[in-house]
Amino acid sequence: MAEENKGNGNNGKSVGLLDRVKTGVKEDLASLTTDLPAKAKEQVEILKKPTKTQLFTSIFRHKHDDTPRNRALGVLSNVFLHLHPAKINRDAVRYSYTWGMGGITFYLFFVLTLTGVLLMFYYHPSKVQAFRDVLYLEHDVPYGKLLRNMHRWAAHLMVIAVELHMFRVFLTGSYKKPREFNWTVGVILLVLTLLLSFTGYLLPDDQLGFWAVTVGTNMARATPLLGHEGPFGSQLGMTPYNDVRFGLLGGSIVDANALLRSYIWHCIGIPIIASVFMILHFWRVRKDGGISGPAPVVLDSEIKEAKK
Amino acid sequence: MKTKTWIRILGLPVLSGLIVLAGCGKKETETAEQPAAQPAAGPAATPIDPATVASVSGTVKFDGAAPPASKIDMSQDPACKGTNTVENIVAGGGHLANVFVYVKEGLGNRSFEIPKEAITLDQSGCKYHPHVLGVMAGQTVKIVNSDPTTHNIHPTPKDNREWNESQAPKTAPLEKNFAREEILLPVKCNQHPWMKMYVNVVKSPFYAVTGADGKFDIKGLPPGDYTLAFVHEKFGEQDQKVTLAAKDSKTVDVTFKP
């Protein structure tokens, strides 16, 4: 300020200007003493109610008072939760009915994706490095061993959870009208889960995985028509070098190409396909009227036979 | 700049195409040439009409004092009997011996049949007989050792293969030949360092060696323009042109100076 004045003074062209500047400065100083405290008080008030702030309301669209409306909005306005309806059958909350296996499967898929991505940072799907990478993961990477263990066990758990989920769905007859198609989607997801697990088996490139995959893919030799050892395979010109197993492994033996294929299917191919089917599956759950039950029991006598 | 670039870009495939084409073409010509080459390779002689043949003869003279033939000390090997003189210049009465005369140019691509009979090179008295030998390429040279001592025959050619073989007394003659034309091909014996002679390998049968009288005679030449070469181990070569008509008989004299 002082310098500014001085500069003006040196200029010495307009005395009026100098006065104006002087009063202006005075006013500014005065307002600082009055306005700022008022504003500060105001700010404190605002901060007392953080849920009213623009920031908060922009993120959370609705209030959190415990009202039925808010409860419904909590679900409806949340991208993650809106898979659920706002309200459900009172007994559907019971664990004894759903066993929670569908949700657990999804959760495990989520865990597997997370740990899988982390594992990918440390893994090269090549014959030279694969096994070494796993050793490295075990011995060198912080929490690497835990990561690998979690991935492996979550995968096993997921297979179990999927099978139990299917078991429950069957027992409660939930595949029945109108959910027939969603059951079919579910079967596809089961197959994809098994394939996901199976493709991951080879990746450490150890004896266990190698022989499991060798035995597993040897069956493909015997594919009817398409395998060189299968019925009508040789008649159709199938050899170990052009049959379906060759296509699966990228070679006639389980080797570098098989490792790479397995890796790509495991990390990219099947997860994408499975995600698509999962979206479909969840979408259909909602569209087919939410989960099937627990529904009131129906008596045999109440069934009206469709007219033929 | 831009057009240049374009030319380059376009030019590349064109060039490579050309190269390919050229490659193909070459191959073709090669295969075409082969049958033609075959007869040339063979020793088939171009027939000469015996009715029209001419001949050329003459004397080689020596202008100057002939150096006295210095004696050679052969006491090193008692088996070498008799006398021996240095043979590099044998001249008497103004005539020069041991000059090799042959048709150097003018025969074209003619090829001639190689005589079946061998030419003999004898070693006796630790000396080669003759001192200068003319032979056709491929013609057999029969080397005989008449001395009671072992000689080795060691040609040191320029364009032919070098060899060096020992010949004990009373052994079978060695039969050798020289494949390529070579004038003044030295032959020596390493055990008797004074022994030295020259073989002249020519492609035509038209050659001669002058005797002590300096005379030579070449017969059976077809008519034509020829260059005659006169070669001496010490005095080098002199060329003479001569034109021969059918049944001509010409004389060419040459004089060497020391």
Binding site: N89, Q207, M219, A220, P296 | -
Partner: protein
């Protein structure tokens, strides 16, 4: 009793899921059975008392007038889901800390593992290799299983039992499924893991897995037992036997189905019925073939130059 061997198999890290699966399955079957039983009791009560049927809320769980029929997902469902996620996380963490994922020697194509086993969830199929040619066990069967599962909703015409546990209303469907899932799928996995030792030989639990064990076993083909020698005759004979099985089996099932499941039978179209029959008979054929093999040492029933069954 070789306890050490037993423990070795049970405690192998990769076998833990199977070991865990058995009590889990037992627990869930129990859970389902309890609810099914309660529902069945309720159904019987309601069927016998139409008046009550009109007023009853029709669930085994208690219900009091005034209670909400529907509850908010937030928080009532989500809190359960979140709890489940926490518990699964705990299980997973504890499991991962205490047990290491297996890592064996680096892959060596020259050194065959004995026994070489596929991942546990495919062990059922590997077990099938004993009884069937690879093309059936490895290709046809999984395909049939997948297709069979997929068509279930379309061939199960029973409108009862949708959305609640019951046994009495769906005896056939549930029975068949339990047979397929528990007997054919889970128990095959069990056998593949705990029973099949070196050389894929049968070792009873507690028997030492001896790599040197040799077993004398001659498997014959069914036509041989009947003294059929010509290839042509074998093919025809096999076709007759297999065809006969499907025909006679079909007739037998049909007779049973018509009598004891008359309503479903009535509801089903011919296509639905025949599909159901095909899958059912194929499924039943598995244990029959297994029995033939294990008890009578019969390898093939149907022999052709191209394939054997």
């Amino acid at each position: 009793m070789d306890w050490k061997q037993l423990w070795q198999i049970l405690s192998a890290p990769d076998n833990i899921p199977i070991v865990a699966m058995i009590p889990l399955l037992a627990f869930y079957i129990f859970l389902a059975w309890r609810q099914a039983h309660a529902n069945d009791v309720l159904i019987e009560q309601l069927a016998g008392d139409p008046a009550l049927a009109k007023t009853h809320h029709r669930k085994a769980w208690p219900f009091k007038p005034g209670w909400q029929k529907e509850v908010h997902v937030w928080p009532f469902l989500l809190r359960v889901e979140f709890l489940a996620a926490i518990i699964v996380t705990i299980i997973l963490m504890v499991w991962s800390i205490t047990l290491n994922a297996p890592l064996e020697e680096p892959a060596n194509p020259n050194l065959t593992m004995n026994p070489a086993k596929v991942p546990w969830y495919f062990l059922g199929l590997q077990e099938m290799l004993v009884y069937f040619d690879p093309w059936i066990a490895g290709v046809v069967m999984p395909t049939l299983i997948i297709i069979g599962l997929m068509v279930i909703p379309y061939i199960d015409t029973n409108p009862l039992g949708c959305g609640y546990y019951t046994w009495k209303q769906r005896k056939f469907a549930i029975g068949t499924f339990l047979f397929g899932f528990i007997i054919l799928w889970v128990s095959m996995i069990f056998i593949g893991t705990f029973i099949r030792g070196p050389g894929w030989q049968w070792f009873w639990p507690g028997q030492t897995w001896d790599h040197n064990r040799l077993i004398y076993e001659v498997n014959r083909d069914l036509p041989d037992i009947f003294g059929i020698t010509s290839n042509w005759a074998k093919g025809v004979f096999g076709a007759i036997v297999v065809g006969g099985y499907f025909t006679l089996g079909g007739l037998a099932v049909n007779a049973f189905f018509r009598r004891h499941n008359a309503k479903d039978f009535k509801r089903m179209s011919l296509l639905q019925y025949s599909i159901m029959m095909t899958f059912f008979l194929t499924m039943v054929a598995l244990p029959i073939k297994m029995g033939l093999r294990l008890l009578f040492h019969i390898k093939y029933v149907w022999i052709t130059p191209w394939f054997n069954v």
